[in-house]
Symmetry: D2
Subunit: 361 residues, 4 copies
Amino acid sequence: MEQKKIVFDDIINTIGRNIRWIRKSLVKLALLGAGRIGQLHGTNIQNNIPNAEIIVLADPYLSDQAKEWAAGVGIPVVTTDPDQVFANPEVEAVFICSSTPTHADFIKKAAAAGKHVFCEKPIDTDIAKIKDAIAAVEKAGVKLQVGFVRRFDHNHKTVCDVVASGKLGAPNIVKVTSRDPAHQSMDYIKISGGIFMDMTIHDFDMARYLAGSDVTEVMAYGAALSGEGYDKYGDVDNAIVMMKFENGAIGVIDNTRASHYGYDQRTEVQCDKGCVQVSNDLNNQAMISSAEGVEIAKPTWFFLERYNDAFCAEDQAFIDAIIYDTETPVGARDGLAPVEMAIAAAKSLKEGRPVKISEIR
Amino acid sequence: MEQKKIVFDDIINTIGRNIRWIRKSLVKLALLGAGRIGQLHGTNIQNNIPNAEIIVLADPYLSDQAKEWAAGVGIPVVTTDPDQVFANPEVEAVFICSSTPTHADFIKKAAAAGKHVFCEKPIDTDIAKIKDAIAAVEKAGVKLQVGFVRRFDHNHKTVCDVVASGKLGAPNIVKVTSRDPAHQSMDYIKISGGIFMDMTIHDFDMARYLAGSDVTEVMAYGAALSGEGYDKYGDVDNAIVMMKFENGAIGVIDNTRASHYGYDQRTEVQCDKGCVQVSNDLNNQAMISSAEGVEIAKPTWFFLERYNDAFCAEDQAFIDAIIYDTETPVGARDGLAPVEMAIAAAKSLKEGRPVKISEIR
Amino acid sequence: MEQKKIVFDDIINTIGRNIRWIRKSLVKLALLGAGRIGQLHGTNIQNNIPNAEIIVLADPYLSDQAKEWAAGVGIPVVTTDPDQVFANPEVEAVFICSSTPTHADFIKKAAAAGKHVFCEKPIDTDIAKIKDAIAAVEKAGVKLQVGFVRRFDHNHKTVCDVVASGKLGAPNIVKVTSRDPAHQSMDYIKISGGIFMDMTIHDFDMARYLAGSDVTEVMAYGAALSGEGYDKYGDVDNAIVMMKFENGAIGVIDNTRASHYGYDQRTEVQCDKGCVQVSNDLNNQAMISSAEGVEIAKPTWFFLERYNDAFCAEDQAFIDAIIYDTETPVGARDGLAPVEMAIAAAKSLKEGRPVKISEIR
Amino acid sequence: MEQKKIVFDDIINTIGRNIRWIRKSLVKLALLGAGRIGQLHGTNIQNNIPNAEIIVLADPYLSDQAKEWAAGVGIPVVTTDPDQVFANPEVEAVFICSSTPTHADFIKKAAAAGKHVFCEKPIDTDIAKIKDAIAAVEKAGVKLQVGFVRRFDHNHKTVCDVVASGKLGAPNIVKVTSRDPAHQSMDYIKISGGIFMDMTIHDFDMARYLAGSDVTEVMAYGAALSGEGYDKYGDVDNAIVMMKFENGAIGVIDNTRASHYGYDQRTEVQCDKGCVQVSNDLNNQAMISSAEGVEIAKPTWFFLERYNDAFCAEDQAFIDAIIYDTETPVGARDGLAPVEMAIAAAKSLKEGRPVKISEIR
């Protein structure tokens, strides 16, 4: 690295990235769904993405809180009719943040209207519907990005970059540890689609992303150990999934519903010549030492604390793909594969045997 | 800690903090100075402080870049005449981000006009001028906050909080390590006021903040070792300063102009019963292991990367003090004391003896 | 913890542990086998175990180096005839460090002669022979300890102790990462019995030790990715094994033959209320930071560097069990179970399906 | 680093280092003083130094415990008359581990008798006596090593080696943090010679060792804050000492008598191009995470736990210097300089001004 004397140049550059003065390339967006994930994307876009702007929000179940929020972040038009979005010629792209069952249909409508699509994960839990939506997108020639946000995290991205650089050789073993901080409500568990579809799906994406290869077979173990009642809904609260990759590597994911100490998100790849791994972001770098012991900070509590910068980077990447007319970094195949893996893992757990992804397709 | 089931409540709360819908309590601000630190505050306020708004920018040397920036972040009025700020009845508070020699005069004008004042550090390098400005603020009954941003950093704040809690007993030894990543230009060094005034001043503030006590004496060692030419301007590139505190504790600061590996910002307090210390924020949590060795990430590069969240928190704290009519967290005494310490340290280095702060007053 | 003023008391106690002055309780031992593991135990016993002494070494293939070594560590009698050991009435216990195929027979002979037995792992690779040897031990009423040395490591023991304390609740997920630093010679791989028998066997022991429970089923994935030729001998160089435990927990082991950066030995247990995990011992605690990056020390190179203190503690534990007539910490069941698991894992890998341990018995 | 296949070669080598079979080069030693530090050296030599042997122990105040200890570690001759040591023609070298006031005289007697000398630190607290003893050693042409054990610690040695390699350029700032775990008894403090002579003296040695340069001036701050009564004996329980080095670097030491969390021993050198620093060895590498917080292990408790390997390496280095007839790694100048620094620091604290080392000589 070259000696950098005039370090303040960086600052102006960084400030520049955070302001909205590149007016000429402003991308006009519509937001579909103003639930929590919709408001998260909406807030980030309005405050932190300088070259994009949400001009309309559509949500059939629009709450008063959501209306107030939309006013606060400066969304000028609010409607309960999603079709107003697709009919609006000013809208160049849509952010689909509505409930999962509506995704595929909204994708098809957006594609038909020639609008680019950012869709929260998963596209659907049904393979056929996903393929249908993808076909519509491909036919229309619009861009599709699926919301696997962890690919934009500074830690996991470093693992991916090191593996992809090849400096450690080919990947041999891919490991993902992923633990949510606290139990979900059983109301959610009833409809979540099970641990592999609602939680591990992010880890399935991570595994493919880090290995740089598709998965051909999975084998899952799981157990309901917490006493919270996951088993009443056919679900588990702890799971381990082994994977075989097309490139010969093998891998494993371990999940726990409630770590109790925070959001535990670690990834690791042992390659031919060495290992790259990431530990958690912590709340701070403090160490408190006394006769009682030595205490350090907990990991950040949950996905908002851990991945908010990644959410912004994800949105920016989608906008950049539109402006520069490049491929989105998380495309159609990336939207489909983790769902196939989730279905295969659930089948494996149920039947007590390894399941090939080809069985699912 | 109680079991948290409905973790998503936090998200809505967090989103709420980031949006601008609390319109009723919007504080109207003026920004004085649109150099890099002015643009930094301005961008943060316009994008991330929901209950404040800059309505006018004044800068006698307004550049085209600054004009474009102001338009980008939505500052409606731009002028080269600072007096327009003080005369504007809508302006409730000013952010003084102009060059140091202008600070004291702007503070007095703002105070005379009944406007609250946020002033970048240092207020001035002359004790009499600082006292004069403080007297004006006190007479007018307006609020004053000085820009010692590190008090709002998640790491140093944890050290302060642990010491202040008393759970480790009283502080015995206070340590601050502070190293900039790269050399300054000699053009800057010529006018910087010397290492103690331009760099250590932040560490003097940290020392007082962490000890919870004023400093009564300093003793400084320093050396120009880099060959960059600091000694041509009577300055040094490495310094160590010992301190005695009113509460009996002792302390030490070590400074280096160019660490070459990033912004090294560590603090530590050994108390009666134990120690609290913070290491650096790193660029990521990766570890790369191979036959060649084990590599981890560097510390964040400089103050913008390390302290940007702290800059936002600092601005928010000032706005909150106005809205809720409370004391600002970094007041007049905090603006004066580090300057006294810097002058005493420079005198100590020159004369080769310990210097009491009372000699400076 | 109580305030300790007279800290030097500890020192005398510690010195006391390291000297051989408790002559009255000296346990007389024989060593069977003077290969590297025999010399390792022999050196540790003669130099670091104060209340034991090797009085005879038997090795049918005694090398000149071994003779010189024996003289050096003060073993007075050396023979090529193992039966001289069993016939010697002074010998109270034997350390079996000969090649694996001789273990079971030596155990039976020692038991018949009324001598306590420390046997290096594995007892045998054949379940029937192990059971036979165990039956002989039980009939004779002598003590048996099997050489699973990692149970005596300061790190893994901490994990076990925390789990066993119950303060984090019951174990949910047990994880073991175990990587040797460098490839084995293919001469060794030919006769090693395969990765699960020669390498994972230690991890199978760890898994049972940390979970505090037996394993009921395993599922193995493996791949020969290094190009070193493991596959020519039906072996793999990377493996992942999932496990189900009797107590409901699930677990996973990952193995790599050659990490290239050192001996990677990490264990982790996620329990009902939290997680306990250990990272590697490093060669030192240094961090070197420059423009090129930040470097820390590698893990210790291999088992001797990492586990030598554990080897001493293991030997001491066996001697203590004799002197105080207590159970050995690693008994017959602990000698059998990991072999069953290794056989089951090999079968799982071969047949591509989960294998219950009950199939093996 | 070359690919290492036959990793077991290392093991035989390592075992070789631990055994006593190099009989031909066995150095015969006498031990003077069987207090705790004498027993520590004696135990290490008898058990872990293969090419040396203590053949006589002399201690005028020989306790029953010491006699029993000597028998245990195999010292054949024990006497209360030190002169028997100097008169014994078989004794090639002496380990002086008696009380400090006896050191200089024993050195002179040993030198006169042509015996090499290992002397525990400090040689004396009086400069003239030290110079006298050194003169005797030089006249006799025997070797002298002074017991500054930390130079043999794996951590500090790494810092020294990196600095000495020059790869980070010249040293700029040298930092030593050194905290004992618990308070000394006031009986000891009465006669200890003060914090700089009894505790900081090791850190003064570290500073010279790490900087690779002598110190020319010190400035000390100190305070008695614990309420334990150090001030009754003119002593302090917290101290900070700044140093100027001949090579232009500056440095600082901070000391606390009672950390309460263990033996805190950190060193750091900022050089022209970067920094090398070491943190503490911990009791283990465990991390325990739960809703209550995240706990890691404490540093090792005190010098025996932290530096026992260094004590062995120190003894081995002295024996090697005899066998190979090379210079000892810690010679006469290293024995004198820290005492000069301690006297200068005490003077500085008393007089409130920087003190040049030249004032002391």
